[in-house]
Symmetry: D3
Subunit: 160 residues, 6 copies
């Protein structure tokens, strides 16, 4: 069974992420979308909230599982019997950072492969932080994040 | 009447900014250079000081107005009856961030257009933070910022 | 009166070009879309055919004029009393070539300004040569070029 | 059964290509490496010779099949019951061209996915044309192409 | 006597840095590797610890001297009678930042030249922060930093 | 004695090249500017004419020698007892091609080092082909090439 892991901070999940999830799920027997628990930057949503938002947005995708993890990505793949890391590529700056991480992951375990999917061009320049910036200033984020989580983003930002 | 808005943090205004301002003012009936009041990074100058420095540096340009704003850029353009956002492009990393913002602004209001002017090649690699780094270490910043504000930059850095 | 010139080879015009034309025409009193007659690469359509295809595709845009020219772009702008060169930016490689030309044009006449419009993200990776490659292999190009010229592209490729 | 197609000109196959072939073969049930028969550039080896060199270089990889095709890539995938296009990414310029083609292929058939594998960093800047340039000037190409084809490259270049 | 200065934060020194040091030392009579004392980001090692790790890693290189400095790089070069700044280039984002600094340094003293060495391709995507991220999560960093300092990195991270 | 080789097609030499030559000559005991005799593209000037133009433009630089060569660059460096290849970097696309060649040259002889100098920002987007394009259309190239060769460029283009 081919299992792919799609790791990220997903704070919150955007339609660009959803596009990668949908397309990966056609290529793998199972796709584990997993919230990384060791990112240092200040998040908007807690880890558990992000898992909940992802679960809601993917509830109609039977091959997709939502999870979170701490520690080395390679160790997590071993634990989950997964053999492929899935990444979405949007832009040049992604490209460089992701290549650095893919190189290091390959050094840690050459059996684990990283594949890159091209983000749909309409999401080429979309990121979680852009979503937060727009929503935080009262702008409309319909079309940028899954409809089922729009209200959560505004509510959360109001509490800050 | 064609009105363009040139938004930025201008902390402080550099000769690269001045180049964009001068050239835009030949293309529009009025150019509003506007200090963005919601940037999170720690500034050197307060918003009001930046408005003052910009006003001094552009005092001989009748078509240029200095202002500042808070909130969504698109809302500000509506309020000021402006229809074009002006941006200077220096380098690849600018390019990506600016495209992301232009895309989102277009989604928020498709009638508002973003145009990019190429920064004069002699300012290609000039930024406000480079100015602050050099001045903070006692280096000479003549030629990097308008002459009329050089003294302010050194004074301000001494107070920090 | 503000007149912008949008120069290119337009062999053939794509929906990415159409997007730039539509958006420029909101910003200028008149937009002259002009086929450059000194490109060395082997074209699919003759200059006159390209002018004809552009005219057909823009026939409902009263502010847009189709033309062609030979020689230095700057000389052409002088002749047409235009003061702005319009360029669409799609990708990093465009960026570098276009900056080089803008620099040289600015040196030839500092009063002429080049502005860049971001190509709509759905056309980010669309080019005339991609259209010809796909159509030449029998693929579908609907959505890539204006509907009114699709048949011409297939017919022309059959004659080659 | 998951079948991936790795298309290219392979004129000749390099160790960078071999790296992508080996790694893809761990992820798919079958990998079809296929020489594209409609490239316009002047080749060093004929299509049949390139198929022969690839067959020799991959003779110990049971899941890899060598083939060639003419026409639209998407049509070829349909014919071969394959659902994934495999591409190696080396550098920024690859990135842009490959994204353009991936976009167009997705438009032609949204069920077909393109995945990108990062070329091993030691091959980041290796290309078939660099191999031909070095060998053509009498330089050593050991380590750049599979050992079993080195002699063929020199012989072929001598005949030109 | 030609003296080159290789400035950086070296927190900690990586094998990519070692590659630049070794190659520079073949080109200059003396290479001064100097820890910059005015970087604002939170370091893992203190300045003195970084000097100590660099000294240990280069102890067999007679032409290499380890030092640290505060203030303007150009002033430091004058003090040390050095005339060349050495920089390693890994990736696009390095390129832009380094060009900006080289431009400003050239403005401050046109007699001082900055040269760029290409990082060995196997270290193209290696950085001190990647080393700290991997080691901090318990991953193996052999091959990424000089063998003589591996233990120090783990020890230091445990203390944090 | 440190000898650097600055190879290129120099068809014709531009002020960007002159900037690299002047700055290199401060760093080396001798700089050999050498016209590559195996470039395939159609030149404007013959090899001998290019050597002559370079000689004229550098006649006041005692440490600079003009030469031309055929074959592998590394072999040429051996023959001339040179140990460093000098390259000017202007833009992203240069960067990729030059890195590929530097990697291959390092593989052919690890003792030979390639160094990159940043082209002066005012020449960032200047190339020989841009010069020929402008001059060929009757535009002014003063400031783009050494004054002593301007007339030659126009004369040569008239003969074509």
């Amino acid at each position: 069974m081919k299992i792919g892991v799609y790791p990220g901070s997903f704070d919150p999940v955007t339609n660009g992420h959803m596009d990668v999830i949908e397309r990966s799920s056609r290529m793998f027997d199972r796709v584990i979308v997993s919230v990384v628990r060791n990112y240092s930057k200040k998040p908007l949503f807690t880890y558990d909230e992000r898992v909940e938002l992802l679960s809601r947005a993917t509830k109609d995708m039977p091959k997709v599982e939502i999870d979170s993890f701490e520690g080395l990505l390679i160790d997590y793949l071993h634990k989950r019997n997964a053999n492929v890391i899935i990444k979405g590529l949007r832009a040049i700056s992604d490209f460089e950072y992701e290549f650095q991480m893919a190189l290091i992951n390959r050094k840690l375990d050459p059996e684990i492969e990283t594949i890159f999917l091209m983000t749909n061009s309409q999401y080429s320049f979309l990121s979680s932080s852009a979503v937060k910036e727009v929503a935080g200033l009262g702008g409309c984020i319909a079309g940028l994040v899954p409809e089922s989580i729009i209200r959560d983003v505004y509510l959360k930002l109001k509490q800050k």
